[in-house]
């Protein structure tokens, strides 16, 4: 592994790790607040039990999210000083607002976790909701920072130096909206479905049926709604990518030659040597339609870019297929759930389907980030700065990588183990 590869692997791994906990940290508080609200309204102790169970999960996962996020904020400098030297002043703004939101989130979570007996019930409930709200807002800010890397704005780049910096313009860059929208839905969707899946499984196994059915219903409100909305948000993101980053779109679709009536290829693998797609089903004109709302529109292909500016094709294409495949499947699941829920009864096969889909949202979320990040290569700031020019001069980055690989894998194993113990303890208490 050379230094650049090691630094990239470290960044990818740290972010891929953090994003799971970040998504949970943004979404679980909402589930928890919903259960808590139902308890305060209906006084049904099952909802209280559910709130406390989820709360303990939030406490553990939030802490892992917070420490892994701290690592990230250092790693921006430890791994990419060449990037931060220029970008810090330009995109620091979303990070500073994100920091503010985190601060409030950390305060709110302290109040909520430990404040059961010290605050009036509804004040206490509000602090729980605030954890979710502030987490959600901070998520939007970070993604806006990432959007800037895809659609740089708010500065002039002359001879390798940024001048005329406008942090506000940089924050509200052309990619911030579609990326945040899509990401926040993804968090709701991935976490909602994962939680629903766990409770569906416990329900089907006959454990604490009342508790688990109530939990499943709350989680599916978020999971199903976000699943149904996601393909629209994703399509919107695709249109924006077509406009902002044609090379990324071409890599996503394995679209080599610029053409009108461009086909959309489902499956298949792009081959950079022969410049063709191998396998897959090509639907003529569909890519033109999706990207530019016109069957005959011209879609820019990879031939418009020098070979060394192509993103890694196979990774980008496959990740995209995985994400969209899962997105379509989950949208179907969402529709089915809403349909049966309105009819009043949830058939067992549907619950099994929820169990089967539990991990898929997270898989799609990770795949989506791979599309965004790998598809932007070789640029760290699209069209402005190459990743290789941003990397740290510190030698031996492989050791840094192995260190964090070991640390995070251990941490992940410990977290899973603890959550399992948590769930088992509650289920035992509630019998079944």
């Amino acid at each position: 592994m050379n230094n650049l590869t090691a630094a990239r692997a470290t960044m990818a791994f740290s972010l891929g790790f953090h994003i799971i906990f970040a998504a949970i940290g943004m979404t679980m508080p909402f589930l928890m607040s919903a259960a808590h609200w139902l308890y305060l309204k209906k006084k049904d102790p099952v909802y209280l039990e559910l709130t406390k169970m989820w709360m303990k999960g939030v406490a553990i996962l939030f802490a892992v999210g917070a420490v892994s996020g701290t690592v990230l904020s250092f790693e921006l400098g430890l791994l990419w000083p060449g990037f931060m030297r220029h970008a810090g002043a330009i995109i620091g703004m979303p990070f500073s607002w994100e920091g503010t939101a985190f601060f409030l989130e950390a305060i709110a979570i302290g109040l909520f976790l430990y404040g059961w007996k010290r605050m009036k019930p509804w004040v206490h409930w509000t602090t729980g909701l605030l954890v979710g709200v502030t987490g959600f807002i901070s998520g939007i800010f970070v993604v806006a920072a990432n959007g800037w890397m895809n659609a740089p704005a708010g500065f002039d780049w002359v001879d390798g130096v940024a001048s005329n910096i406008d942090p506000v313009k940089a924050m509200f860059n052309q990619a911030w909206f579609h990326q945040s929208l899509h990401m926040q839905l993804a968090a709701l969707q991935a976490v909602g479905l994962a939680v629903a899946g766990i409770h569906a499984w416990l329900y089907l196994r006959g454990r604490a049926p009342d508790l688990n059915m109530k939990a499943l219903r709350i989680a599916m409100v978020f999971g199903a709604a976000a699943s149904i909305a996601q393909p629209f948000a994703g399509h919107f993101a695709g249109e924006r990518v077509a406009a902002l980053q044609p090379a990324k779109l071409a890599a996503i679709e394995g679209h080599f030659a610029t053409s009108r009536r461009a086909p959309l290829t489902i499956g298949g693998l792009p081959d950079a040597e022969t410049r063709t797609m191998k396998g897959g089903i090509a639907i003529p004109g569909l890519l033109s339609l999706l990207a530019h709302r016109d069957l005959n529109a011209e879609v820019i292909g990879l031939d418009q870019f020098p070979r060394e500016d192509w993103p890694p094709l196979v990774i980008t294409h496959v990740a995209f297929q995985v994400m969209v495949g899962i997105g379509s499947l989950l949208a179907l699941l969402g529709v089915l759930y809403v349909w049966f829920r309105r009819r009043g009864a949830l058939p067992r096969w549907l619950l099994w389907a929820v169990v089967a889909c539990a991990p898929l949202g997270m898989v799609a979320l990770e795949a989506g980030w791979v599309v965004t990040e790998v598809g932007r290569q070789p640029w760290i700031i699209y069209g402005i700065m190459r990743t290789k020019d941003a990397v740290t001069p510190v030698p031996g980055m492989v050791y840094h990588f192995y260190l964090f690989l070991g640390l995070y894998l251990t941490l992940a194993a410990a977290t899973v183990w603890l959550l399992r113990r948590q769930i088992l303890a509650v289920q035992q208490k509630f019998g079944g």
């Binding site: 303990k56 406490a59 553990i60 939030f62 802490a63 892992v64 917070a66 420490v67 701290t70 690592v71 904020s73 250092f74 921006l76 400098g77 430890l78 000083p81 060449g82 931060m84 030297r85 220029h86 970008a87 810090g88 002043a89 330009i90 620091g92 703004m93 990070f95 500073s96 607002w97 920091g99 503010t100 985190f102 601060f103 409030l104 950390a106 305060i107 979570i109 302290g110 109040l111 976790l113 430990y114 404040g115 010290r118 605050m119 910096i165 406008d166 942090p167 506000v168 740290t392 001069p393 510190v394 030698p395 840094h400 260190l403 410990a414 603890l418 948590q422 088992l424 303890a425 509650v426």
Partner: protein, 337 residues
């Protein structure tokens, strides 16, 4: 603009050392033998730290964000030259935060796993405190050399040596001292209270001792601390005042005035930081090529304006909520006697 930002940096650093520091110190205290008070001590620490440690940790994040947005050159220079100690600090922070929460929220409280969490929590608290001190000491030695690509000179020499190690030990002692003073007011159990007072007394002694060590070790540095302090009556007065305050502190401890002891101990630590500040301000760090000052290395004005705006608006929300947090859990003067 830059003045405001430097004040925010100073304030965040101070609050991180005071508040975050006592959380680290609590971990260090758990390393010391406690006999049969061990369990009771753990309960008190869990209860005292649980609601506030995430918020206390945020001061560090704030520091990092202000640095990389407002002073990107300083931030990147630091992150390149001090890559290794930063990494060590991060590992400590990750292990420590996780172990603390795991210990508290593990659904099955059994001695073996609890023992592992406690060991990890307290060892990593000590570890992180020392590395923080090492990083602080490395800033102003004039060894950091952004131009060098020699492995030793560029990435080891800046933080290697007796002096950084002494500062690391000093920081660990300060943290343990702060935590003891703070914990005295967190329990009503007489035996435990006595233990924390005793620990504070030991911590007090160790702070003075380690402080002396830092001064002695600095004799081998480019500019020794005794020389720097003796040259300037103001600096000397600050050190003198910090030491004298120990007398006041123990009067309050003897009278069991919890809040006042906390204020005096915090004041002492603040004075130490102020001493450090007057020694080096307005330079953020001193490299082999000369000092990097906050005033020369700041981001363009448009960025600074936005940063100050964010900090001011943020403060409007953060300080009242923080106040509320501490009020809900601390009820001013600790438990009533």
């Amino acid at each position: 603009m830059i003045d405001i930002l430097v004040s925010f940096i100073a304030a965040s650093l101070l609050l991180y050392v005071l508040l975050g520091g006592s959380d680290f110190g609590a971990g260090i205290i758990e390393l010391l033998p406690a006999g049969r008070l061990r369990e009771a001590q753990k309960v008190v620490i869990n209860r005292a730290m649980g609601p506030v440690w995430e918020a206390n940790h945020m001061w560090l994040i704030l520091l990092v964000v202000i640095l990389f947005m407002g002073f990107p050159t300083i931030f990147t220079t630091l992150m390149i030259a001090l890559h290794i100690p930063m990494l060590a600090l991060l590992v400590g922070i990750v292990v420590r935060g996780s172990a603390f929460v795991f210990r508290h929220y593990d659904a099955v409280q059994e001695p073996r796993s609890q023992g592992i969490y406690t060991a990890l929590f307290s060892l990593s608290s000590l570890w992180s405190a020392c590395w923080l001190g090492i990083i602080a000491a490395s800033l102003n030695r004039g060894i950091i050399d952004p131009a060098s690509r020699d492995v030793w000179a560029a990435w080891f020499a800046p933080w290697w040596g007796v002096y950084p190690l002494a500062v690391g030990a000093f920081v660990a002692c300060i943290y343990a001292f702060l935590a003891s003073i703070y914990l005295v007011g967190e329990t009503e159990e007489p035996e435990l209270k006595r233990r924390f007072v005793r620990l504070a007394a030991w911590g007090n002694g160790l702070v003075v001792l380690a402080g002396g060590l830092v001064f002695a070790a600095s004799l081998g540095e480019r500019e020794s601390l005794p020389a720097a302090f003796l040259r300037d009556p103001l600096k000397l007065a600050i050190v003198g005042l910090a030491t004298l305050l120990f007398v006041v502190l123990w009067v309050f401890v003897a009278k069991r005035r919890t809040l006042l002891t906390r204020i005096v101990a915090s004041g002492q630590v603040a004075l130490i930081l102020i001493g450090w500040y007057v020694l080096y301000a307005p330079n953020a760090l001193i490299t082999a090529q000369g000092p990097l000052s906050f005033y020369d290395e700041a981001a363009p004005p448009a960025t600074l304006r936005q940063l100050v705006l964010a900090l001011l608006i943020g403060s409007v929300f953060i300080f009242p909520s923080l106040f509320y947090l501490f009020r809900v859990f601390k009820r001013s003067d600790g438990p009533k006697e």
